[in-house]
């Protein structure tokens, strides 16, 4: 098995495992106040985690805290009744392609496409190799002939640029749906 393949498999597993968290967060974060609240609570919980545990694998811990929080929030909401009939829970649990999310994702996809196209060719290529083709930074470094730290820097720049671009388009956790002309 080539490294690239193995890496794709790895990212698939990784993505799948995090899928529920993402879909949940995406919906939550669509609203400014909810996003604040969730971040705030995740943060407070991180503070309560032992230092040793947190340092052992901070990213995994953050994901776990956020996911637990997501579950708890849903569990708390349900008995209240107001959410019992709502499809929110199913969308969290199962979700990928309800008509609603498809529309949302389509316009989001367009926006992402747009901000990616604003990137320099190199940053664009590196971003896509990493996010879409699942190449590791090491593999990108080997194949493109850049140092690994350069690849990481380009990647960070590219992702930060996309995030800022989406933000100014009011996308990705901004509150508006439409793409500005």
């Amino acid at each position: 098995m080539t490294d690239a393949k193995r890496n794709t498999q790895f990212s698939d597993v990784f993505r799948e495992q995090r899928g529920r968290l993402y879909h949940y967060l995406k919906r939550r974060l669509a609203n400014e106040d909810d996003a604040q609240e969730l971040a705030q609570e995740s943060f407070l919980r991180l503070l309560r985690v032992t230092r040793v545990d947190l340092v052992a694998d901070p990213q995994a811990y953050l994901y776990r805290v956020a996911r637990n929080l997501a579950y708890e929030k849903e569990a708390k909401r349900l008995p209240a009744g107001s959410w019992a009939d709502d499809s929110e829970l199913e969308q969290v649990e199962d979700t990928r392609d309800t008509p609603d999310t498809v529309a949302e994702q389509t316009s989001l996809a367009e926006s992402i496409q747009r901000v990616i196209e604003e990137l320099s060719p190199r940053n664009q290529a590196i971003l896509l190799l990493f996010c879409q083709h699942g190449l590791s930074q090491r593999e990108i470094s080997d194949r493109v002939g850049l140092s690994k730290s350069m690849v990481q820097k380009c990647l960070a720049q590219a992702i930060a640029h996309c995030r800022k671009g989406l933000q100014s388009l009011g996308k990705h956790n901004g509150s508006r749906q439409g793409v500005r002309p």
Partner: protein
């Protein structure tokens, strides 16, 4: 650009946080971080909820980009990346220079510098505010650990003892110079105690004080009662009828000698391979010998073993480990006796076992399992 201004006005330090988050996110994706880097990242995350939020958002964005249908092959992209001129990269991104997490935000000049200084000030205020919140929580000597459904946590304490906390449990560490006190507020934990005769290790529950010197034992305080199983060494148990006095920060000296458990008369010694049950009502202690003490600690491997336990309790136990609960739909089933060994994360097999044993009729739904009485023929 209106939106951007609006954004900047609301979060003056937003762009810097995005850069930092992007830097961390990419560094964490497929690199083995050094210990110092992990420390630094943990510090960064713990510094502000905005950091947490931005990091989660970037994780989302990464997944979203990954979900776009790829339009170009790996080979094309590699070629494209190789063509770019380094100058190009720098000039395009000069405006949005990636800030290292330790970069001072106040290093700019002119208008941008002013904005950065204000940003730094705002960020500083946030940190101070958070520090205040942090100090309001009693954390200096008292640390509280909780686990939620399905979560198990193992952590070392400052003396080298190791605590493993089972799902849906809560524990408070309270170390003083004289004692290493751990209060098990609810749930279950396994303790591997580092030897220190001068500073006894004590586990406190509502109804008992369990003292060990250097040993390994499991304490289950899921319900009102307390059950202690000793895996190694010896522990002493003293039942407490009234509220334990250890909820106060500094435990008052105990008895006259201060050597730990006060009233000698009611102390029970429990040794390896024994299980002691303390009744919360009358403080009566029952000691029995267990064939295999590891049965009581098998929860670490998410193994559940029951010997003639009422179904109500067994179901409650399963529900500690699974998001999708088992629900008993007929109160009469609660007292049905169940024996067996199961995988805590496989409630379906358990349900099928109940059916095969003709104990209950399960109905497996997408988000829960219902238990009904067996239909009478």
């Amino acid at each position: 650009m209106k939106d951007k201004q609006h954004y900047n006005a609301r979060y003056p330090y937003g762009a810097r946080i995005i850069d930092e988050a992007a830097d961390w996110f990419t560094r964490l994706q497929d690199t083995e971080l050094s210990c110092e880097d992990r420390e630094a990242f943990a510090d960064w995350l713990s510094a502000s909820p905005e950091h947490v939020r931005e990091y989660l958002t970037l994780a989302n964005l990464h997944a979203d980009i990954g979900e776009l249908p790829p339009t170009r092959s790996v080979e094309d992209l590699v070629e494209l990346a190789g063509q770019g001129h380094p100058e190009n990269v720098i000039s395009l991104n000069a405006v949005e220079r990636v800030a290292k997490p330790d970069d001072s935000p106040a290093s700019g000049t002119g208008r941008a510098g002013r904005v950065k200084r204000i940003a730094a000030l705002a960020a500083g205020l946030v940190v101070i505010a958070l520090a205040c919140v942090w100090w309001l929580y009693p954390h200096a000597n008292v640390a509280t650990y909780t686990t939620s459904i399905g979560e198990q946590k193992s952590f070392p304490l400052s003396d080298g003892s190791i605590v493993t906390l089972n799902a849906v449990s809560k524990l408070r560490i309270h170390y003083t110079e004289q004692y290493r006190d751990v209060q098990l507020l609810s749930g279950e934990a396994l303790f591997a105690v580092a030897k220190n005769k001068l500073r006894p290790f004590r586990v406190l529950t509502n109804d008992s004080v369990i003292q060990a010197v250097g040993t390994q034992f499991n304490v289950n305080h899921r319900y009102a009662d307390t059950t202690v199983t000793v895996v190694e060494g010896t522990v002493e148990i003293r039942p407490v009828v009234s509220q334990p006095q250890f909820t106060r920060p500094a435990p008052a000296s105990e008895g006259s000698s201060g050597e730990g458990l006060g009233a000698r008369s009611s102390i029970i010694r429990v040794t390896k391979g024994q299980r002691a049950h303390v009744d919360a009502q009358d403080a009566a202690i029952t000691v029995s010998t267990v064939v295999d003490a590891t049965v009581d600690t098998a929860w670490r491997e998410r193994h559940l073993t029951f010997e003639s336990r009422p179904l109500g309790e067994v179901v409650a136990e399963f529900n500690l480990y699974n998001e999708h609960p088992i629900e008993i739909r007929d109160a009469g089933l609660n007292s049905t006796q169940v024996s067996g060994s199961f995988n805590a994360n496989d409630p379906q097999s358990f349900a099928l076992f109940l059916e095969a044993a003709k104990l209950a009729k399960p109905k497996i739904e997408s988000d829960k399992i219902l238990l009904m009485p067996m239909a009478t023929p």
